[in-house]
Amino acid sequence: MLSEWDYQAVFLTLKLAVSATLILLVISPPLAWWLSHSKRFYRPFIEALVALPLVLPPTVLGFYLLISFSPDSLLGGFWLSLTGDHLAFSFSGLLIASLIYSLPFVVQPLQSAFVNLDKGYLEVAATLGFNPVETFLRVIFPMVLPSFIIAAALGFAHTIGEFGVVLMIGGNIPGETQVLSIALFDHVETLQYRQAHFLAFSLLAFSMLLLMLIYGVLQKRQKRLYHA
């Protein structure tokens, strides 16, 4: 029922979502830790910047990204001299955009987990002889593991679900930038409702299951860890 292009879109979407999620899981913990503990005056500015994709129309974000991806701009020019490739309408460009628009979905659950983490446990870790890195690996990470899974799941799901930004900067190149949401749009435009139904329902069911996992299991677990 699905065409080769559709399978390509599925594969591309998963590749994009997995890459973005993995990179975000490296960037976000330190950023979330800083946001939850910093007392610097410019913290609200950084926090707002991170949260911006939550409220901004995706097309606005996409527009500015498109401008900055152009070879004449700073970022686009730098990328061109570094890799010899254009950022706009490429997988790399799509990945960078995904990192930006999914960042708040990963940072926010971690930030709230870090805020709620009782400082007393960190003091205990210090009296057990752990330095900050050991404390993070041996105490903090296992204690907020459910929040890490929530963050990863939300980042993953949101990357899969994005449409507006991709449309602005990625266009519709099969195998390069044509992700599931765009493929669905294509099917509807060409009145291929059977395929459209299939893709739409798959995305719906996937998102629903993921959110149920988060709200039904993971959040409860995290709460139990805090209030034990």
Binding site: T127, L128, V139, M143, L145, Y226
Partner: protein
């Protein structure tokens, strides 16, 4: 030896003094006096202090140095157990062993000594407060600390846990130097031979508990007014009258007790208002306990009452009498008198 002069402006705290790192040292003071702040400053958990802190000649803190908590090798039992909620008991204890060098005890030994062998696979939320605290104590011991700090470890515990822990902590204090925050005179007299008295954010005195509780110049004296602890030795059981016979500094006393106890020594508390002073022995009275004492000090408490400090032998007793009695009996310092004890309470059979 710990030497320190630590200062914090807001809220005002000033801790200056020297402590030998040997045996158990009590930290005593009113609520909010700064006991917890004091031990947190020593542990490096509070970074707001200026001044210096030296441990065994090594600088832990001065203008240019701040050794972090994890490098001080201090074991700490906080007021709350603070067990890690994502781990079971075994996991919590294993975490403490990772950085420990030459721990005195193994997890298994502590589990037997502190009676939690059956709890090793339980999570923190499945345990009672007393169970959690016993495990928190075990965790602190497993880090093989050079100094063990305990912040009111027994204050929230049931009788079973207290009875189990006190003798254990006493033994422990002969192996690891101990700083022991407590509100309980009973615990302090039992465990500690040194005491730091903290009052309004400052160290008021350092000395033996007996001496500090009796020093009229210190803020502590108000605690002592209510009464002092005496230790009674060489106990023997009198089945006919359900009594315990014993000796306070060589003088016989009898205590009413419902059942026979295995202890050979216990502590009694005598309230200062329950001590009657007589210049001659009564021939006939229902009072059972009479001690021959010397008046060491007389100080007025109010317009109509005075507090006498009486020396039995090694131990001391306080008596609160009226000014009228003081004048009529013509009591003077160094005079020998008889102290009749009207009522007393026996403190926990475990002591």
């Amino acid at each position: 030896m710990l030497k320190f002069n630590l200062l914090k402006p807001q809220p005002f705290l000033h801790f200056q003094g020297e402590l030998p790192l040997q045996g158990a040292c009590a930290v005593f003071g009113d609520s909010g006096a700064g006991k917890t702040s004091f031990v947190r400053a020593l542990a490096g958990l509070d970074t707001g202090f200026s001044g210096f802190l030296n441990c065994q000649g090594k600088a832990w803190q001065n203008e240019g140095v701040f050794i972090k908590t994890e490098k001080r090798n201090i074991g700490m039992v906080f007021q709350e157990p603070r067990l890690f909620p994502h781990l079971d008991v075994q996991g919590n204890l294993q975490l403490a062993c990772i950085k420990a060098k030459n721990s005195l005890y193994s997890i298994k030994q502590l589990a037997e000594l502190l009676d939690f062998s059956a709890l090793l696979s339980k999570k923190s939320h499945q345990l009672s407060g007393g169970q959690k605290q016993r495990i928190a104590i075990a965790r602190a011991i497993l880090t093989a600390p050079d100094l063990l700090i305990m912040d009111e470890p027994l204050s929230s515990l049931d009788q079973h846990s207290r009875a189990l822990l006190l003798p254990f902590i006493k033994t422990l204090s002969q192996q690891i130097p101990l700083l022991y925050i407590s509100h309980s005179m009973q615990e302090i007299f039992y465990l500690c031979d040194q005491m730091v008295l903290i009052n309004q954010g400052k160290i008021e005195a350092i000395g033996s508990p007996q001496a500090l509780f009796l020093d009229a110049r210190l803020s502590l004296v108000k605690h002592a007014h209510s009464g002092l602890l005496l230790s009674v030795e060489s106990l023997s059981w009198d089945a006919q009258f359900s009594l315990v016979h014993g000796f306070v500094d060589g003088q016989a006393v009898v205590l009413a007790q419902e059942k026979k106890s295995r202890e050979t020594r216990l502590q009694i508390k005598v309230e200062s208002k329950d001590v009657i002073i007589a210049t001659e022995r009564f021939n006939l009275s229902s009072l059972q306990n009479c001690l021959s004492v010397t008046i060491e000090a007389i100080e007025p408490l109010s317009v109509n009452s005075a507090l006498l400090t009486l020396t039995i032998g090694r131990q001391k007793l306080l008596a609160k009498i009226t000014m009228k009695s003081l004048n009529e009996l013509k009591l003077k310092k160094n005079q020998s008198v008889f102290a009749y004890i009207k009522a007393l309470s026996i403190l926990g059979d475990t002591l």
